[in-house]
Symmetry: C2
Subunit: 193 residues, 2 copies
């Protein structure tokens, strides 16, 4: 980040900063180059195409998310259901607080998931979720991976539709808490208290 950091690192940092501050559409090659203090052709040395740079930026987003998962897991108690609740809350908060980054992270048309290497970004996070889900899964539920996938999709859909604006309008809710708990209760059974 400082002036003597490598150009490559500065480019990614500038891009992350830009997408967080101004949203996905502001993340142009040339603007990043400007903010990194290099010529508009410089990024090409490290990222052959715009998509490659965007993928690197999105990767930082996933790293951030992973760090938050870990931190959430440390902070939450041992009860798996409580851990899942904390995880869901964190996911929705992340999406709301870093909307531009969240969008970028799941824009497959911009990222070309091959370049992003799902196996190293989102799958490890999914594994944490699947592990917890397996611990609270009831016999009649769907297999653990499917159950976890459905739950993830639910959180993800809430995050996106909430940001889109129709969900708050339709449900009349002023925050997404009711939806979060509805989703958790639906997939994992009613909360144990």
């Amino acid at each position: 980040m400082s002036a003597e950091a490598s150009v490559r690192a500065r480019l990614v940092a500038a891009g992350v900063d830009l997408v967080l501050r101004e949203g996905q559409s502001a993340v142009s090659l040339r603007e990043i180059a400007r903010r990194a203090g290099v010529s508009h052709g410089a990024p090409r040395r490290y990222f052959p195409t715009h998509v490659d740079l965007l993928s690197a930026i999105a990767r930082e987003g996933f790293a951030d998310l992973a760090a938050r998962v870990e931190q959430t897991m440390r902070a939450a108690g041992p009860d798996p259901r409580a851990r899942l609740t904390a995880l869901g809350r964190m996911y929705l908060d992340f999406a709301a607080a870093h909307r531009g980054m969240f969008e970028l992270m799941f824009r497959h048309d911009l990222l070309d998931s091959g370049r992003l290497q799902l196996r190293e970004t989102s799958l490890p996070l999914f594994a944490v979720l699947a592990d917890l889900v397996a611990q609270v899964r009831r016999p009649t539920d769907a297999p653990a991976p499917v159950l976890a996938g459905a739950l993830w999709a639910n959180l993800h859909g809430i995050a996106q539709l909430w940001a889109w604006g129709s969900l708050p309008l339709a449900t009349g809710a002023t925050d997404d808490d009711a939806l979060l708990h509805a989703a958790l209760d639906a997939h994992l059974g009613p909360a144990p208290d």
Copy 2:
């Protein structure tokens, strides 16, 4: 659509065609104008900005979706749970078959939901869902609008994450049927088979 159709209609039709065929990123003002056989400045007369044209195109997408909802409701039997299943299947199929349009429809950064007028597009569709949900809702479930919102979000998340590629990888499924039924069972209770 024919040659003597109004320029405005031809522009929207060309845009719809383009987004269906080539995806969201192909829908540029100038390309639409070219396909509609008018100069690149012509669209401006009807759509002051690119966003306005995109919103008009997305609106066609919602109209299409609404027609499918109606058709699905006509074709499905009277049982509300079966109707919900049909609706969910249709939603996922629509998203998969018209990926570019589906993306456009929910890109709030491109549409500026004000221009899209949610009240006239997605809310009526949500009402159909909420009505059915109310019929199968159990006493301990969340209030009907919240329950319906959570279910919609689940379907929506499945559609998007599936297209994104991580969900099939993580769940090991080859189609989204397992996820669809997991979501329905979770929110509405086990299927009465």
